[in-house]
């Protein structure tokens, strides 16, 4: 029942208290995407400015628990200035970090298991994002941690379908 220190790492609390890239970007040129967790009411708004397949700027709005808000803040810091491909790689690697552990919960405790597709970066390569790994010990909170990442993925999908339709 304990193990709170695994959940509330200092770096997570730091991002919660001093969130990075908080704010808005004018739409257009930016894209605004909303993510919502109907079960707990957590809400993340991602403003995404992509030019030449580079995430030039990203801003975060919304409200929610420390895990959802710090994960959004850490995500914004991790993808800003990266290429869209790199951002997608981070998304799948982050979600893999969550789901690998999700499989092991309630099982025999081993962390082996099939590597989910797209997990090209192991947790130790994710920098400070790896601090969120402890969340998987608290299954109810996993969706808090992944909310902003799913929202970013939705934004990138919208952008790529926009550019696909404008190219055709």
């Amino acid at each position: 029942m304990s193990g709170l220190e695994d959940l509330y790492r200092e770096i997570i609390l730091d991002h919660y208290r001093s969130p990075r890239n908080r704010g808005e970007i004018e739409v257009p040129p930016a894209l605004r995407v909303e993510g919502f967790n109907p079960l707990c009411g957590d809400e993340v708004v991602v403003f995404l400015l992509v030019e030449d397949s580079i995430v030039r700027d990203i801003r975060i709005g919304g409200q929610g628990c420390s895990i959802s808000q710090s994960s959004a803040s850490m995500m914004s810091a991790a993808v800003k200035g990266r290429s869209v491909d790199e951002a997608r790689q981070l998304i799948s690697s982050f979600k893999a970090m969550m789901s690998i552990h999700e499989q092991s919960i309630g099982g025999d405790g081993t962390e082996s298991g099939p590597e989910p597709p797209g997990a090209t970066i192991p947790p130790e390569g994710l920098g400070e994002l790896a601090a969120l790994q402890g969340v998987v010990k608290f299954p109810v909170r996993i969706k808090c941690a992944t909310l902003s990442w799913n929202t970013l993925a939705q934004g990138l999908d919208e952008l790529s379908s926009q550019s696909a339709s404008s190219a055709s």
Partner: protein, 429 residues
């Protein structure tokens, strides 16, 4: 803590007003005897979501499964008759507990209170509520007493109106006469599952009946904690659920006046609810079985009957008095120790129309984080919107942390909550 003065009527007229010994009662609840890995006890403060079970309830269900399980109202053999007898005896006990005039005919077993409320909306609402008549609800309703009416409104265009909340967290009845005019149904909670407010139903019922409207009472939060007498109250429908009153999950109750149940069409179709079935139609069964399609939750009904027996043995007056005193104590401890760090969303400690549901905010810490830290201290509270999103919007918060009290809680639980809040404060600074 014993109640004084003339005792109110309890279900079976058992002795009332005895002081309640929560520590002794807790020994009846196996789950509350469980120790955490560090040897500390569990502080269970989430009975408004679901209460724990005394051995007497678990044993009644075990005994049924071990000795008399058979389908009810079907077999002619002895154990089937015994199962039917026990199932129907539970119905009568539960009906008597809430003051039904004809307990054997006026109690319909459902899956939960939600299904009971859907039954009223789907049967009475769809077929008997006159076209154009409104349904009057309140801003503090649980989704279970909102969504069935929203569905009815979507289907039939039924106008919905809402009694607002005042600044004291009570219903604002100043426009009651105006709002009830043209309503065919008034559906209102007896006690808020978020605020702890116990609603004064008498003026609402009087105004509704004067306007020709029927009154549906959501008793999910009040029936487990206070004496509720439908006959004295003059309500038309009462919905409540087993698992918030020491009973098992999977069993709920709709009480309705006999003549209303007679008039209402069947809702769910299947076995048990029919008298005759032909290839071109069917004849429904008598009440209450007309509303109990398929094999019912037999063990659960028997378990709920045993739960009611337990509550009656303790005495509903004693339970109410215990909870009043403990609620007052909890609010005082929170205020003394935490002062302005705690925001209570509900009536103050000295408000007599207040139950043991305490919704709080603490130092701006998100309720999910708060509940997580409290859990690490062995304190179980609910964090979230409590299935009352319109009320959350009215309060201007996305969620609250909610502690709720019952007969087995005591001073140690209150102090454990207060200590755990301080820990959360340290962590989130």
């Amino acid at each position: 803590m014993a109640a004084t003065g003339a005792p109110e009527r309890t279900g079976l007229g058992l002795e009332t007003g005895r002081a309640l010994d929560a520590a002794a009662l807790r020994r009846d609840f196996p789950l509350l005897e469980r120790r955490r890995s560090d040897g500390r006890r569990i502080t269970y403060l989430d009975s408004a979501a679901s209460s724990q079970h005394p051995r007497q309830v678990l044993e009644a269900m075990d005994h049924y499964y071990e000795t008399t399980h058979a389908n009810v109202h079907r077999g002619v053999y002895a154990i089937a008759e015994e199962a039917t007898r026990r199932y129907e005896a539970a119905r009568v006990r539960i009906g008597t507990f809430v003051g039904a005039r004809a307990p054997s005919r006026e109690i319909v077993f459902t899956k939960n209170a939600t299904e009971a409320l859907n039954l009223v909306a789907q049967s009475y609402g769809r077929r008997l509520l006159p076209e154009g008549k409104a349904v009057l609800l309140t801003e503090m309703e649980h989704h279970a007493n909102l969504v069935p009416w929203l569905m009815l409104s979507q289907e039939r265009g039924t106008p919905l109106r809402y009694l607002p909340l005042d600044e004291r967290y009570h219903l604002d009845l100043s426009r009651l006469d105006e709002l009830v005019d043209g309503a065919g149904i008034v559906a209102v909670s007896a006690m808020s599952n978020v605020l702890g407010t116990v609603n004064d139903l008498r003026p609402v019922i009087e105004a509704a009946h004067d306007a020709g409207a029927l009154v549906v009472v959501d008793g999910s939060q009040l029936v487990p904690h206070r004496v509720v007498d439908v006959t004295a109250l003059g309500a038309d429908f009462l919905a409540f659920t087993g698992h918030k009153m020491l009973g098992p999950t999977g069993i709920g109750v709709l009480w309705a006046r006999e003549e209303l149940l007679e008039e209402m069409p069947a809702w769910l179709g299947g076995g048990e609810m029919i008298r005759d079935v032909r290839l071109d139609g069917f004849t429904p069964n008598d009440i209450p079985w007309k509303f109990e399609a398929g094999t019912p939750p037999i063990a659960e009904a028997i378990g709920l009957g045993a739960a009611v027996e337990y509550l009656q043995a303790v005495g509903m007056e004693s339970i109410a008095a215990h909870e009043r005193a403990l609620t007052r104590r909890a609010l005082e401890v929170l205020d003394d120790r935490h002062g302005a760090d705690v925001t209570v969303y509900g009536p103050p400690a000295d408000d007599p129309n207040r139950g043991g549901v305490i919704s709080i905010g603490y130092r701006g810490i998100h309720p999910h984080d708060l509940a997580q830290v409290l859990d690490a201290e062995g304190v179980c509270v609910r964090a979230g919107h409590h299935c009352a999103k319109p009320l959350m919007r009215r309060l201007g918060v996305p969620a609250t942390a909610r502690a709720s009290l019952y007969l087995y809680n005591d001073d140690d639980d209150v102090l454990a909550l207060s200590d755990a809040l301080a820990k959360a404060g340290e962590l989130f600074g």
